[in-house]
Structures are given as C-alpha cells and as structure tokens.
Subunit: 298 residues, 2 copies
C-alpha cells in the first residue's frame, strides 16, 4: 500500500496533479525519476555507488540503501512510472525533526548549460550558498504533543541570511523552538545529545569530511545533507546524503566544493556545541567565544 | 640600493615604463601599492594582520613580515610612490625554484561589481580554478648550472589543465625537469625532501589547513600560496601566502573557498609523495594507486 510520506521538508511533493515520492509499509521510499536527464542521472549514480567496492562501509551508511528501480502508479494518478526504490529512514521515526541542507557554495557543475549555470549562480548568490558554502532548503522541528511541528514556509527559509541559519541550527536542538525565528532565545538543551557525543551529528560530519578529503570518485553538486533526529534523552541523530541528480565523475580530483561547505557547517555545529554543551569544559566555551567575537570585530 | 628582483613568476613586473616590485640588499621587498582600491586594501590587510593578536605564531610565519609603507622611487622612474615594505624571502635563496598557486575555485568576492565578477568567473572557468580549486599562476624550476632555470611563458601556464598541473607539481621536485612539459617522465627524486618530512610542503599545508578550518577573521580571495625551495639534500622548502588585495572580513564564517582549494592541493601533493617517495611503505603506494585508478574508472 503506497502513501504520501508524512515528513518532507524539501523537493517535489506529492499532491493532486503533482508527482512526488511515496512510501510503503515495509520501510521503502519511492522517488519518481525526475524529468529530462535528472532521473536517469540519479539512477546511474545509485547503480554506480551500489556496485563500487571502494566505498568503505562506514561511509556507505550515510547513503540511503538502493533497491533498484520499479514501475509503480505515480502519486498524481497519471499511471505507472519508474521510481527509485530507496530506504525510508524518516517514516520509521516517531516525531522526527528534519533539516535539509544543500551543500556547496556552487550548485552548478562545470559542463552545465549557460542557462542552467546562470540560474544556479543567481540562486547561490541570493541564498547563503555563496557566503556559507551551504544553504538550508527546508526543515521541521517537533515541539510537543500540543504544539506539534514547526515547519516554516519554503520561501521564508530560502531568504535566510547567515544569522537566520545560525539561529535555525540552534532551534533545531532546542525545547522552545516550535515557533518562528523571532521567538525567545533558543535554549539548545538537546545540543549535546543531538550534535555532540560519539555518534552525534558532529562526529558523523567529521567522518564524512575525512572521506571527502580523500575521495576523487564523485562530485556531488546540489546534493543535500539530511539531518534527522528525535528529541529526548536518546535522540539517535542520523545524517544522510540525498539527491544525486547532479553527481558527476570526480576524475581524480576531490570534491572541494562540497568539502568546503561541509567544513563550514562543521564550524557552525561546533560553535553551538562549544557555547551550549552542558558537558563542555570552560576552555571550550572561552575558545568558542573568542573565535566568534574575533570574526566580527576586525 | 634598490634593484629589480631576480626571481618573480607572477604578478606585475618591473621594467622600463612598467611599475613593479623592488628589493634592497637588506632582505626587504618593496611592492608598489596597486591602483584603485587594491593597494589601499592590501595595506589595510597587512596593518590588521600585523596587529591581530589572535593569529598564532606558527601561522604568522606563513605570511611575509610587514615593515610598514614607504615612499620610494618607483621602478619605472616616474617619481616617489608608496610601497609596502615586506620581507624578501626569495632573493636570499641560491637558485630558488618557485611556484605561485592562486587559491580558491572562486577568485571573486560576493560584494564585487558585476563586471569584475564576470571577468573573474570567466577566468576561473577557463583555468583550473573551477575544477581543481586552485590554478598555477607561474613557476620557475632550477635545473643545473648549465641548464639554468626553466620558466614557462605565463600564457602557457594559464592554459594548463589538470594533467598539466599534476605534471608541473611533479617536475617541481624532479632533477630532469628543466625543460617543457613534453619532456621525459619526471623522476621526482626531490619529492620526499621538498614535499615530505616534518617541515616539508605537505606538513606546512596541513598546518595551514587546520587554521583555515577554524579561523573566521579573513577571507582570502585571489590570494596565492608561494612555494619556494632549493633542490638538494637539505632543500628547506618554504610556503608563504602572498597577494592580499582582495581579502575581506570573514564575519564569523570560515573561508570555505580557500580551504576547499587547499584540500585539493594537499591531495595532489599527497599523491606525488605516495607514488614517488623513497621512504614510503608499500601500503602507501598501493593505496595511492587504488585511489587514482578509482577516480578515472567510474
């Protein structure tokens, strides 16, 4: 039985007259092949990635499992259509908070058409992609049984500047965040549980970084890091890379565009941990404050 | 007594009717303030950098010492003109090999004029800046007393693709390289001495990288890494950052553009060391070959 996923913060959505992803009851996510070359390119990526024996297992787990491509009835009722069959790592969660972060200061690849480059470059300049090396594409934050989810409009998120991004990353790990960005100071009480620790977001991003410093197989243009977590004592935060319609061959060169953005994101997360972590030492806090004031003073 | 420096591989050169840098006998390098805002901006950078107490000493040594600005007779005889007074770390060398590597996949800063952005973007796309995250602006390689220096035309270097860059970085540490790029396979006999070791180029680049992962004070657009070495048993390779006419404030964000290019350069140097180092273990060589073939196969 296919249904429209409950939780989606970016990308094309299923609705009447619009094709979007579907999920089933067995933990699989069905992503319709996108038009033009995109669908074929994403399928080609999953095929290459799945069969590549050089990808270490601790890196492979950052990618959704791929179960081939299958024709199923499209979500808009327009008949059977090929869908990528992927692992559904979101629907299995209870009250997941999600954030989709599109990586890289440049979302266009060198051999793209001039029109496409112009369109992407304009968007990279208007959003934080150019300045931060990444942009938030969308997110939802679970508040409580009463308040439910806070999920800002996509248009609003696209207008975020660096301070909004910083605030959103803090709200993502706060208990008082199920409202808009002008609310009270986020308390960051879940920072250590979600971002910190041996299996937290920061540790996972650092593992990814080490791989990106070395791997020259793929360049991931316009690809997103999806952060998924449930708040509470054992939040079990997960990082996955998604959206591979613009992955090209690395040809012996590292993906410095993705890597630069990843290092920038790591710095943001580290600062939040330095400032708000309950377990952090005083030295950490002092250093973090020093760095920040430094950046603004000069 | 001012004179035109013997060794310069990029930037404006002194000649009859052209203003360029001068050196004196006491180890100082005089760089004329560039026109428009560039000169003032570079002077402002040196002033800020010199007085900034947050720059660790092990990082400060990657920058030329700055001794203020002084009016001296310009190299073209047009009268007194303000010059930045800097450390001359090249003329003191005997037979130096030099390479000027302009860092970053993007040489323009977000607030630049549309004309400037267009000009830079075109050049970034034509050269290896976009694909590799850096481009070689110029170099000279000392061969022997007989062959002297090999110093390819600037126009030729600007046309380098990724394979030319790889070859040039190998020739830089070879004994049979004082000729053009179609000569015999470079022997890389100086790779371990120049690129490897505790004080070699790779170790220095890794120190810089650690700083760039954290520092949010400056963004170094269109800045170069200058590699300087003398071949032989004790080559004493030096890395310096130069050209700060387009440095802007970091405002709390890391310089992901410079950092991405730096990681890419580090990967190139690591591969040369992995392949040609006499001290490297078999495991290193095997890994390096695996990675390379990987990059091209998929």
């Amino acid at each position: 039985m296919f249904k429209i996923p409950d939780h989606q913060v970016a990308g094309h959505k299923s609705s009447k007259g619009a094709i979007g992803p579907l999920v089933d009851d067995s933990g699989r996510f069905y992503k319709p092949l996108q038009s033009a070359d995109r669908g074929a390119q994403e399928e080609a990526f999953y095929t290459k990635f799945s069969s590549n024996t050089e990808i270490p297992n601790h890196i492979r787990k950052f990618f959704p499992n791929y179960y081939g491509t299958k024709d199923i009835e499209a979500s808009d009722g327009s008949g059977p259509r090929p869908h990528l069959v992927l692992e559904d790592f979101v629907s299995i969660r209870t009250n997941p908070s999600l954030m989709d972060i599109k990586m890289g200061s440049r979302t266009w690849f060198p051999t793209a058409s001039e029109d496409y480059i112009k369109k992407c470059l304009n968007k990279d300049r208007k959003t934080t992609s150019l300045s931060l090396g990444f942009r938030i594409s969308g997110f939802q934050i679970y508040g409580s049984k009463d308040s439910g989810y806070w999920k800002p409009e996509r248009k609003c998120v696209q207008g975020y500047n660096k301070d909004d991004v910083r605030l959103a990353l803090r709200k993502f790990v706060s208990s008082n965040s199920s409202d808009d960005l002008v609310a009270e100071e986020p308390d960051c009480v879940y920072a250590e549980n979600v971002y910190g620790g041996d299996n937290g977001v920061l540790a996972q991003l650092l593992k990814l970084k080490a791989w990106f410093e070395d791997q020259t197989i793929f360049h991931f243009y316009s690809c997103s890091v999806l952060m998924v977590c449930e708040k509470g004592e054992s939040p079990c935060a997960t990082i996955k890379l998604i959206d591979f319609a613009h992955v090209i061959e690395g040809n012996g060169i590292i993906d410095h565009n993705f890597l630069g953005g990843l290092c920038s994101l790591i710095k943001f997360i580290s600062e939040i941990l330095g400032k708000f972590s309950h377990n952090s030492t005083k030295v950490c806090v002092v250093n973090s404050e020093k760095n920040t004031s430094n950046g603004y003073k000069i």
